[in-house]
Amino acid sequence: MKNNSIKNFTLLALSLFSLNLPGQDGNAILDRVDRNLSSKNRVIESSMTIHGRRSSRTITSRSWTEGDKRSFTEYLSPASEAGTKMLKLEGQLWIYTPSADRTIQISGHLLRQSVMGSDLSYEDMMDDRKLSDVYTVTISGRDTLQKRDVIILELVAKVSDIAYYRQKMWVDAERFVPLRQEMYAKSGQLLKRAELSDVKRVQERWYPSKVVYKDMLKDGKGTEFVTTSIKFDQQIPDHIFSKASLR
């Protein structure tokens, strides 16, 4: 009986320790997440389905991304968007529209506008800073999600120039892939939720091939991203990340 009490106490103390002093653990988990999701470069083919009030539309694209600095995206369909190209170099973003045959630079507050009517802004797509660089992390608990054990991380901004003051992340305890992400306002109001699923093994990594972003303040089914093909650490020619490739 006494032995059992000591054992229970020890387990409780360990679990409390793991909940109260998890800073390092949280960062370690985030590192594991980054290792799964970040790479030197990647080539992705994806489809983005934007669910509107009356109808939905799907946009397919092919992207070449190098770190968090350089990215080039070409929209493949539908016909109205096909040929539109987006180039990101450092903090700058250019968009080429074939119908107008013009390249425009998206800057300043235009970056806060929605990308093609989706639930994501250009800024959301561009902000690739490592989470551990901009948030302090604590582990707030464990749970089960999509029939997987998950660790719940609480992220609070440690820099001022960030869109979401607080985030909550459900990370697969075994694969270290986020399965759910919630973004909160300073007031604590839930603003956006991302549900990540269809985790697949790709080149020694676990990668969620489906992400559903939802603006929690408005009605609707949100925006769905499906990665149809992804290749990490490829040889990407330098000319891809030049303004010449926009035309």
Binding site: D161, D215, L217
Partner: protein
């Protein structure tokens, strides 16, 4: 005087033909006055209401502020310059802070402008006193909106609505605001797409402490100091859009007036031609009796022009009671008339200025003088003998 007496006698002798001309011209005269009076009335109402609700006695703008480009709003905020702040201490200025935001009424997404105004201000007619915080709840944010905005959002007084915005650093924040009052204004530019909350609250929420986007100066302010980097916009600059619209409307009014006058003057012109043709023997007799051709031309011109004098008298007789009745009752405007973004009251009260009436009287008299004179030029070419025989010129 003789010519005038003869003209009146001849005109009255012509009977129905004269009165038809006079009636048509009097209708044109009254309609021109009514239309111009309506535009002047609208202009006065819109200018006065815009001054009372929005522009005050002028405004100081942050150098980056451009009301036509919402993307400038995020960068156009700072503490007003000292000279402008001093006006505030004297109660002659009130600052306004603007930030872009998104409202979510019943799960819908509506882009709005969140505007902060001092609840104590009395410079513009916005009922900002309704923003005085009656609740001790620190989370309580009172808001006032215009009737158009309330209809667009489909919300009522006392309703709560979630609003999301970004602070000065770009971080999202979202809170519920409570609609403390819905005001009715004829100035859509302070109503449509806008939610007004207490200035200090907005400054706190956006971390723009003590900052503003523009400052409204009281009409009582006698001198407007140089506002440092801030740019002073006077009454003329702030009402330029309205003045441009009115100028365009005046242009279309001139077209309508010209058409109406053309119809009436064509009748007089026709009458003059006919009268000269039918009264050749009379013209010949006048000249044979010693009247100069110039005097005969003068006689016929006066006769034609007298149509306009009679028309003005007739127009005044039936038009004045009608115009004053319209002025008293006002002209109701359709419910959606102000959707174009221009200040229009529910009813437009025409304003018949003395200058406008005198200008219209002169226009009618001078134009009828010209059309009366033109056909009479033939008289100067007539031979009295031929005229006496009734030979065609």
């Amino acid at each position: 005087m003789l010519e005038f007496k003869l003209a009146i006698k001849n005109l009255l002798g012509s009977g129905l033909r004269t009165w038809l001309n006079v009636t048509v011209l009097s209708i044109a005269f009254v309609i021109i006055i009514f239309y111009n009076g309506m535009l002047d009335g609208w202009n006065m109402q819109a200018s006065n209401d815009t001054r009372a609700w929005e522009t005050g006695g002028g405004q100081y703008w942050h150098p980056e502020y451009n009301p036509y480009d919402p993307f400038t709003f995020a960068d156009s905020h700072s503490q007003p310059p000292e000279a402008v702040e001093k006006l505030k201490e004297k109660g002659l200025m009130t600052p306004v802070l603007i930030t872009q935001a998104t409202a979510y009424p019943s799960g819908r997404l509506v882009n709005i402008l969140l505007k902060g105004v001092d609840p104590e201000q009395k410079i513009v007619a916005i009922p900002s006193h309704m923003l005085k915080e009656i609740s001790e709840d620190p989370e309580y944010i009172p808001a006032i909106i215009g009737k158009r905005m309330a209809q667009s959002l489909r919300i009522n007084e006392g309703d709560r609505m979630l609003v999301r915005w970004r602070d000065a650093n770009g971080t999202f924040d979202a809170r519920e605001v409570t609609i403390a009052a819905i005001f009715q204004t004829t100035v859509p530019s302070i109503d449509a797409g806008q939610v007004w909350i207490p200035l200090e609250k907005l400054q706190d929420l956006t971390r723009m402490y003590g900052e503003a986007t523009y400052a409204i100066v009281s009409p009582q302010s006698t001198s407007n100091p140089v506002g440092g980097e801030w740019i002073f916009k006077d009454d003329k600059a702030l009402l330029k859009d309205l003045a441009d619209i009115m100028a365009a409307k005046k242009g279309s009014s001139r077209v309508i007036s010209s058409l109406l006058l053309a119809i009436a003057l064509l009748a007089i012109f026709d009458t003059q031609i006919l009268s000269i043709f039918r009264r050749q023997k009379e013209i010949g007799t006048y000249i044979a009796l010693g009247m100069t051709r110039l005097r005969v031309v003068y006689l016929f011109t006066i006769e034609g022009t007298t149509h306009s004098l009679l028309a003005i008298l007739t127009g005044m007789a039936w038009g004045m009671p009608l115009l004053f009745w319209i002025q008293k009752t006002g002209i109701p405007m359709p419910a959606n008339a102000d959707q174009a973004g221009v200040s229009i009251a529910d009813k437009i009260t025409p304003y018949y200025g003395a200058g406008m009436i005198m200008a219209t009287v002169l226009l009618v008299i001078i134009s009828s003088l010209i059309v009366s004179y033109l056909p009479t030029k033939r008289i100067s070419k007539m031979k009295p003998t031929d005229a006496l025989r009734g030979k065609l010129v």
